[in-house]
């Protein structure tokens, strides 16, 4: 058994894929490799720490290989897992790719749920997809003077790249901004154009409080609707909280 190798990389998909490339090329022995996507306080003894410099070319090679040998479905799961907020995502992705490339038919890799790393990637991907699904429903735009639609969110996972295409398809003719306050980044969509990501500090986004009276009127109509549609005889705040966790409500018009 060789020495453990801890590859320290950026937590983006590009960073993780670069580490996958370096981990492979470094010949540490796959069973010894761990990816660390964030700073950790305690360093393990008897492990060598390698800093990975994100390299678009290496990452591209890995993503091409994954797509070619493991297929679009597996690639999508891995890309989603890379958006997870969980710290072990890098290691799970590394070993899932190792597994996929060791199989005669790598397209079936995501079915090998008896492999704990594959199972983990699958679980992370589901969690990301679930939060993205939530926010496709729960994100709320308010219209600013000038007509821009502006939404603030604070998701656990980095869902912006997963939800922006949905909103681009849905609201093609609108100028809109979805602001992930926790990560201080935003997806911006110019009317008729394509969305892009940009840095945006919390509190530095457009001032949603400047929305005018017309906007307040629409918001009040919506709040009234939500009150009217509930059946008092079936009131059930616990079920409501189960379906719509409280952490989302801070940014929702009707709460």
């Amino acid at each position: 058994m060789g020495q453990k190798a801890v590859l320290c990389c950026e937590e983006s998909q590009e960073g993780i894929f670069t580490a996958v490339y370096d981990g492979w090329a470094g010949r540490y022995g796959h069973e010894n490799v761990r990816l660390q996507v964030r700073e950790e306080e305690d360093r393990e003894l008897f492990s060598s720490y390698i800093n990975v410099r994100t390299d678009a070319g290496k990452a591209r090679k890995v993503s091409d290989t994954v797509r070619r040998r493991m297929g679009g479905r597996a690639y999508l799961d891995i890309a989603r897992a890379a958006l997870s907020w969980e710290a072990d995502k890098g290691t799970a992705i590394y070993h899932t790719i190792v597994r996929g490339l060791s199989m005669a038919d790598g397209f079936r890799v995501m079915q090998v749920l008896t492999d704990p790393y594959v199972c983990r990637v699958s679980a992370l991907a589901r969690a990301v997809a679930r939060e993205a699904d939530h926010l496709m429903g729960f994100a709320r735009f308010s219209q600013l003077p000038g007509g821009v639609l502006y939404a603030r969110i604070r998701p656990r996972n980095r869902v912006l790249p997963a939800i922006a295409p949905h909103f681009q398809d849905r609201l093609p003719g609108e100028n809109w901004v979805i602001h992930d306050e926790g990560r201080e980044e935003a997806a911006v969509h110019p009317a008729g154009g394509s969305w892009f990501l940009t840095d945006m500090e919390a509190g530095r986004g457009p001032d949603a409080d400047r929305a005018g009276d017309a906007e307040r009127e629409i918001e009040e109509l919506w709040r009234g609707f939500c009150r009217s549609i509930a059946l008092q005889e079936r009131e059930n705040p616990r079920l409501q909280a189960q379906m719509l966790p409280k952490r989302f409500r801070k940014y929702m018009t009707e709460f």
Binding site: R108, Q111, V112, L113, T114, P116, C119, A123, R130, D133, M136, G137, F138, A139, R140, F141, S142, Q143, L149, A151, H166, F167, D169, R170, L171, P172, G173, E174, I218, E220, L221, W222, G224, F225, C226, S228, I229, A230, L231, Q232, E233, R234, E235, N236, P237, R238, L239, Q240, Q242, M243, L244, M252, T253, E254
Partner: protein, 449 residues
């Protein structure tokens, strides 16, 4: 009726309050069944699994702007809050108002689209013409591509139903009651034939339209998300077997996408209606939804689940556990060899986990630890399973013993006051009327409907 009528030009907020309140007893708020990409210029698209935008205080999903066009109704359905002789505020929207509300709510991502139902103003055809004009404006003048669900009124002219069907994603006609007798007694202006005729019309038109689509890619779509219906339970003395048999016939013979069940709620005092001292039968409704799920995704038939001798579910147990306890001779099941159809019948194993098991066992034996990671509810399933010939703990395949374990209440019927707390706890585990649940369970099972 004229007394309560809101003046023309009443504030939009007041109309919305009245007409949302009047629509709240309608169950379905799902936006599933259509996948439609945006067209790059209008507003909106549709996602096959549907999207829940909010959840109201009762825990139900808000996906669509669910309103009545009008609650000025000439009918006298005994159970309905809008019946003509009730003294309540009345209002009607205009097509412009509904278009504005839908578009402004949709742009802000409050909703997936519009769910338009109505009381009967003058006559069914006249009312449906107003609904048609609303939906036509939304689609043609506003360029709205989002989801539209229209409730058809029994007795409307076939021509107007057909014209609306080419604009709506889903149509539904309420069955109202599981038995024709109940309908006669409680909805004197409606009859079984009046309800089934347009249901058949929509089904036939949909089939013809799919054939046209197979030949011409750009043939117009007719009700692409299919049709659904709903019935009130607990108001007309029907058995669970009657309810599930009707649901099964609707799925088999009318090609319905969904049947919704609505626990009867007492809004009118009427001698023809039962008193419900324990509140609406929510737990029974919950069991019916679970059984409905078994019909649609688990390959069960109504007559397997219930019989003339036992026409009602044991309300303590979910219907699958109910079935398993009466077929203990089929257990235990070896996880690594059992066919998919049998895995589906094990309490605690769902469609997703059964599929995962079948895939994973090709690459090695599945053990209990793996089952757990796959999402199998082991505390229920372990009593029916072997992994490589071994159980998780010694099995006791005895009806009484297992009933205590599988009863979600820990083996006792919840007293009336506790029923609600219990309901809240378990609602999420079973199939419900929410698009969210369709997301969890996947959509493949629906192809067979």
């Amino acid at each position: 009726m004229a007394d309560g009528r809101i003046a023309v030009g009443a504030a939009l907020s007041e109309k919305l309050r009245i007409l949302a309140d009047a629509a709240k007893y309608d169950v379905a708020c799902t936006s599933s069944g259509t996948a439609r990409r945006g067209n790059g210029s209008g507003l909106g698209n549709c996602v096959a699994a549907g999207i829940c935008h909010s959840f109201s205080g009762d825990g139900r999903c808000i996906s669509l702007l669910k309103v009545l066009y009008t609650n000025e109704c000439i009918y006298h359905c005994k159970y309905c809050v809008n019946r003509a002789d009730n003294d309540i505020p009345r209002a009607s929207f205009t097509p412009e108002e509904l278009c504005r509300l839908t578009m402004e709510f949709y742009r802000r991502n409050y909703i997936e689209g519009l769910f338009l139902s109505s009381g009967v103003l003058r006559n069914p055809t006249y009312t449906m013409e107003l609904i048609f004009e609303t939906v036509r404006r939304l689609r043609e003048d506003c360029g709205f591509q989002g989801y539209i669900h229209v409730k058809a009124i029994p007795g409307a002219a076939p021509d107007i139903i057909e014209r609306i069907g080419y604009l709506a994603d889903r149509m539904s006609i309420n069955l109202e009651f599981p038995t024709a007798e109940g309908l006669r007694r409680l909805a004197p202006n409606k009859s079984r034939a009046l309800i089934l005729t347009p249901m058949r019309q929509i089904q036939n038109r949909s089939i013809a339209c799919r054939e046209e689509l197979a030949r011409y890619r750009h043939a117009p779509q007719f009700v692409p998300a299919g049709q659904s219906t709903q019935m009130i339970i607990g108001a007309s003395g029907e058995t669970d077997l009657q309810i599930m048999s009707v649901a099964q016939r609707l799925y088999d013979n009318f090609g319905l996408k969904r049947v919704f069940y609505s626990a009867y709620m007492q809004v009118n005092e009427d001698r023809a209606l039962p008193a419900l001292p324990g509140g609406p039968p929510l737990l029974r409704e919950h069991r019916l939804y679970q059984a409905d799920w078994l019909l649609r995704f688990y390959g069960f038939r109504a007559e397997e689940l219930l019989s003339q001798e036992r026409p009602d579910f044991d309300i303590r147990l979910d219907p699958k556990a109910n079935w398993a306890l009466r077929h203990l001779e089929q257990f235990p099941v070896e996880v690594n060899r059992a066919p998919y159809e049998m895995l589906l019948r094990v309490p605690g194993i769902g469609v997703k986990s059964a599929r995962r098991i079948v895939q994973a066992r090709r690459y090695g034996a599945v053990d209990f630890e793996t089952l757990k990671r796959m999402g199998v509810v082991l505390r229920r399933a372990c009593w029916f399973l072997l992994c490589r010939g071994k159980p998780l703990q010694p099995l006791r395949l005895e009806e009484g013993f297992l009933a205590d374990i599988l009863a979600e209440t820990g083996g006792r019927v919840p007293p009336a006051g506790e029923e609600r707390a219990f309901h809240q706890m378990t609602l999420f585990e079973a199939g419900l009327t929410l698009p969210e649940m369709e997301v969890l369970y996947g959509t493949e099972g629906r192809a067979v409907l």
